[in-house]
């Protein structure tokens, strides 16, 4: 057990370094750009912002007369105390406040669709590899590869147009209707699921193929192993061989890929949110880009990065339970 704790701590150390790298990048990108960041910002916002907003903006970026290293430490200190600065688009609301409500919606939408597409894709991959060359194996992968070729958000546009606008089966925007009050009550939850259905469906459609193909490929390799032949020779029921012998082992690379794909899927989810005007991180990102709200953009980058790193660590823990070899 002590070795597994060591392993988890080592991974945690890596994520801490990755988080530090992201923070540092976040600090240096504006300062590495051609020209002086302060004058870029102030030139863009001259006349549009009142003096207090300018002072807040200056403080957010630590664009003071301090030497660079001093600015860097002020910046780190502010972040560690949870201060991401003040938004320009939603002045004078602090960035942390704006992001925290939106974060819940993104976790709900992206998380649910990720889990559905991962489990469904893995299951389909297992079945396709088991009956290799069968109907499922020859029809589904090319079809899903074709769907995967569309940009996430474009498929979302088509889905919204067809089922929301054309047929009127689904709501056109937002995460819940006006008639319900947010909270732990049944009508609200049903309404939230109803609003999330179409965006989640498009995300599942686009990402399903990847999970299925990678599971199918590892599963085929696993099925060639001697212990599978032995399990079959023993006369074990074929469902048991498929699920407990082959799939149990073949799922591990897929799980590692889960952590890896998280950032990518999340990027697609953010664009999907924009199409559906879903009040999550993606929608905020669009607002931030439109208003050139730099503090909000940086805050979003930070929260999303930290969320992805955290989720990766959870995947590490899950692998520890699934793969006895890492526990040794």
């Amino acid at each position: 057990m002590s070795t597994s704790i060591q392993y988890l701590l080592r991974r945690l150390g890596f994520y801490a370094i990755a988080a530090w790298a992201a923070l540092t990048l976040n600090f240096f990108i504006p300062r590495m750009m051609p020209g002086d960041p302060a004058s870029i910002i102030f030139a863009r916002f001259r006349g549009k912002l009142n003096p207090e907003a300018m002072v807040a903006l200056r403080e957010t970026f630590g664009l003071t007369d301090e030497p660079l290293l001093g600015q860097y430490f002020t910046y780190l200190k502010n972040l560690l105390s949870g201060d991401l600065g003040i938004s320009i688009a939603y002045f004078p609301q602090p960035v942390t406040e704006i992001i925290s409500t939106a974060l819940l919606w993104t976790i709900f939408l992206a998380g649910t669709s990720l889990i559905i597409s991962f489990s469904l894709g893995t299951l389909l991959g297992t079945l396709a590899a088991w009956k290799r060359g069968g109907r499922l194996d020859s029809f589904l992968p090319p079809a899903l590869a074709f769907f995967g070729a569309f940009p996430y958000f474009w498929l979302a546009m088509v889905a919204l147009f067809t089922f929301g606008f054309g047929l009127g089966w689904f709501p056109l925007r937002h995460a819940y209707g006006d008639a319900v009050t947010p909270g732990f009550n049944l009508p609200f939850m049903i309404d939230a699921i109803y609003h999330a259905f179409l965006p989640a469906l498009t995300m599942v459609m686009v990402s399903l193929g990847g999970w299925m193909l990678s599971m199918r490929n590892t599963m085929i390799t696993t099925l060639g192993a001697d212990y599978i032949t032995f399990a079959r020779a023993k006369g074990l029921p074929s469902k048991m061989v498929m699920l407990k012998y082959a799939a149990r082992n073949a799922i591990l690379p897929n799980f590692t890929g889960f952590g890896m794909a998280l950032g990518f899927v999340l990027s697609g989810a953010l664009l999907t949110e924009i199409i559906f005007s879903y009040p999550g991180q993606g929608y905020l990102l669009l607002e931030a880009v439109r208003a050139q709200d730099f503090p909000l953009m940086q805050g979003l980058f930070m929260t999303i990065t930290l969320a992805v790193l955290g989720a990766n660590w959870l995947v590490d823990i899950a692998i520890l339970f699934l793969d006895p070899r890492t526990r040794r």
Binding site: F14, Y15, I17, A18, A21, A22, L25, N26, P30, I40, K131, G133, A145, F146, A149, F150, P151, Y152, F153, W154, M157, V158, F161, F165, G166, L172, I220, L223, G224, T229, R232, A233, V241, G259, M260, L262, G263, F264, L266, S267, L270, L271, I274, I275, L285, L286, A288, V289, R290, Q292, F294, M297, Q298, L300, F301, I304, T305, V308, L309, N312
Partner: protein, 310 residues
């Protein structure tokens, strides 16, 4: 001698692609879009001109209808191909170049060098791409150069990792040891001895990176981070959404562009499947054997001991 050998490799590749159904159809698909991108702007009407009532549906005078600015959608779709494909392929090229450089060095030298470089690769791998791209692109002047740069910065790590592991596998082969013993310089070993053996990996990495670049580029431009005054597939979608295409029911402003993007990506994916089959001997031998085997049997590499499924 060396050139003749290279010629024959190239020749074998072309032959392999022509004989492989997937690779051939993928290549034709992609080549036709490259052709459209090259000559398209000379044969269509001016894509920037105001021609007809805004948002008029497809008709004989405008096959794909008009945009919210009264421009011809067909002309915009065709001329949008050029910059999108150039940025996509350029990104693919630089991603592979940087990936080969960093992954190659990391895999070849190992030790401390590998520790540091792998750490950097892994950090870039876990960082979510889109928000980082947004931050970078929002500070730089909008345009194709910014897009390429941003896409390369966020996309190189995956290729570096793949190339690194391939390099580690090849480095232990006898021919590399022989080259080291005979006193060849490391640069020469990497470039002349090892890299040619990775050609198929590099080719499929290039294609994979181009697919990624086209998708991510369109996403960034859709957000409004490209140069919205130029015509690309991404800005077409940006304007479609800006002109409320969804709420006005004008599906023709975004459907053609999306289908083009999907066709190019799908064509590239097919080429990659094809390369895999052409260069992976296991898949080839299996395909050759299949015609001698009874249908549906013996193609899973397992000797049937008991009847497992009816």
């Amino acid at each position: 001698m060396a050139t003749r050998k290279n010629d024959s490799i190239l020749f074998r590749w072309i032959k392999g692609i022509i004989h492989n159904k997937k690779a051939l159809s993928g290549s034709l698909l992609v080549l036709s879009f490259i052709l459209i991108a090259a000559i398209g702007p000379y044969i269509t009407v001016d894509p920037n001109a105001f021609l007809d009532t805004p948002l008029s549906p497809p008709s004989f005078s405008h096959w794909f209808g008009t945009t919210g600015q009264g421009q011809d959608v067909l002309a915009q779709t065709i001329s949008g191909a050029r910059q999108t494909l150039i940025v996509g392929f350029a990104t693919g090229f630089f991603v592979v170049l940087i990936g080969a450089l960093i992954g190659g060095i990391s895999g070849f030298y190992g030790g401390k060098v590998d520790d540091v470089l792998s750490m950097i690769i892994n950090i870039f791998l876990v960082m979510p791409g889109l928000p980082l791209m947004v931050i970078l692109a929002s500070w730089l002047p909008p345009g194709p150069l910014t897009l390429t740069g941003v896409l390369v910065i966020t996309g190189w790590a995956w290729n570096a990792r793949v190339i690194r592991s391939q390099m580690m596998a090849l480095r232990d082969r006898d021919f590399v040891s022989a080259a080291i013993v005979s006193g060849e310089r490391n640069i020469r070993i990497i470039l002349i001895e090892i890299m040619p053996r990775m050609l198929s990996l590099l080719a499929s990495s290039f294609i994979g990176a181009s697919i990624y670049a086209i998708g991510a580029q369109v996403g960034l431009e859709f957000l409004g981070l490209g140069d919205v005054s130029t015509i690309t597939w991404g800005t077409n979608l940006y304007w479609a959404s800006n002109d409320l295409a969804l709420l006005t029911g004008s599906w023709w402003t975004f459907v053609p562009t999306g289908i083009c993007i999907a066709f190019v990506s799908f064509g590239l994916t097919l080429i990659n499947f094809g390369i895999d089959e052409v260069t992976n001997p296991r898949l080839i031998s299996e395909r050759n054997w299949r015609k001698y085997l009874p249908k549906g049997k013996g193609n899973d590499g397992i000797t049937p001991v008991i009847k497992t499924h009816a």
